[in-house]
């Protein structure tokens, strides 16, 4: 696992998702009462970006149809899709949030 610096912690607000770049891929990062998260910026229901979706109770809701995804596990809630979103390892290092990517 290789960790990359993606965003400064000061840029994160509670229950807000920010778009960040992980090796050329757009991801969403942020912090909730349950901790930091990093997930793919794509809703698998109709492949639309998740950014702009509001976060409540550790779930992000897709701004298009309201599908919700657990930010810790990626699992969907509701009947529109049974596909999960990809979840990355997120950790704090100094003033930065780092996101892990498998070393392939």
């Amino acid at each position: 696992m290789i960790f990359h610096q993606v965003i400064e912690l000061t840029k994160l607000a509670n229950n807000k998702a920010s778009v960040a770049n992980l090796n050329g891929n757009e991801i969403l990062v942020g912090v909730t009462n349950k901790g930091y998260f990093a997930v793919e910026n794509n809703c698998p229901h109709q492949n639309k970006p998740l950014c702009g979706g509001r976060i409540r109770h550790g779930h992000i809701s897709c701004p298009v149809h309201g599908m919700r995804f657990n930010l810790e596990t990626g699992s969907p809630v509701g009947q529109l899709t049974n596909k999960s979103i990809k979840v990355y390892d997120a950790r704090v290092n100094g003033d930065w949030l780092e996101v892990g990517e498998l070393d392939e």
Partner: protein, 436 residues
Amino acid sequence: MKNDRPAEIDRPQLRGDPITAKRYVSREYFKYELNNMWRKTWHIAGLAYQAPESGDYLVAEVGPESVIVVRRADGSFSGYFNVCPHRGARVSEGPYGYAEQFTCPYHGWQFDLDGRVVNVPGPEDFERGNPCEKLGLQAVVVEVLFGMVWFNMDSGCESLTQYLGENITNEIGSYRIEEMVRVLDMTASTDCNWKVLSDNFNEAYHVQVVHPELMPYIETQGDFSQIDLLPNGHNRGWFASYQPSTLHEGPVQEPLPSLLGEWDIPVPEEPTMKKLRQLRIDVQKKKREQGSARGFNHYAHLKDYQLTDYIIYNIFPNSVITVGPDGVQLLRPRPHPSDPARCLFDHWWMVPRIDGRTHTPSPAGGPPLPVEDAEHQAFAYGDKSLGITADQDLSIGAIQQQGFGSIGFKEFYLSDTEIRLQNFHERLNDYLNGTA
């Protein structure tokens, strides 16, 4: 008039309509109930604070109907049937979400927060005209009261406060639910008609048998209880607490000593009924004196009896709100989308925020609950506990529903203490007969 309890209300003359099993089992009755009653009465969609910002919405379901209530930029709420005017698909998923505009998952029609169609793929291809100029989500009537968003599917309905009446509006209002946080939010599916459970909450006659654990500290009948029939099929039951039920036998039992202990009031050494009934008054005095210093700021808005007692408001048809000194409970059986022999039972518990208290006792038994907004949990009755008392209530659901299937059962034979049921069912008859 006794001022240690809610003011008694003159009892209306009831007709004595027979209550038979048909209304619990018949599919035909179920359809009439939907058309004539559910689509004309007020229902709770959720708590207003769940949708704090513009575009935040809640989805509420009543039988086959689904309704979206959405927060507007000016802070108010609007509500719509959750159905696309194009081909009838549900537009949004529950129980909550956020949308700048609603987008139907089927053909991508989009609606603004006024419900108007604002964008469709291929708008020029409709012979009957561009849907953006013509169509929209059908509106429902929405009001906010007690920190809850309510809706009515009947555009010609009376206002919510007219519907509820002064007693309910003012008395529940005094608890300031809008300042509370919901710490428990459960829905269980169960095998009985919704009225089996609403009936159960309309009488305390079953308490001594089904809920023996309440007897040591809550009155269920006699001089320290009171039943009032309110207009429009609503009911109220008052039950004194911090004293044993008249039916309680034997020595003082928990949780009464613990409840008294919180206010440094000892159990009397020779606990005669007279001394035991003084305890409730002593607690009221202590709470009045020390409440705000100990962080119970909400006591200031309550009358003395509200500092100790439980009052159950059976709001027609199915919103049962029980208020107590330290929290408010919603017990609500909702009709199944299609099956009269099934329902969905909601259990909410809302508490005031008190400085220094991070946890609150759970009405569901088990460990104390954190004082923070709870995530919704949905499950089948029996898979998980809804709370000791609620589990006990639901335990009678299936056996009564099964009994209703028998020609051996004729009609209800009610005691005077079950008079609230009669009031409820006669109002239901009024709706079904079109005379409500």
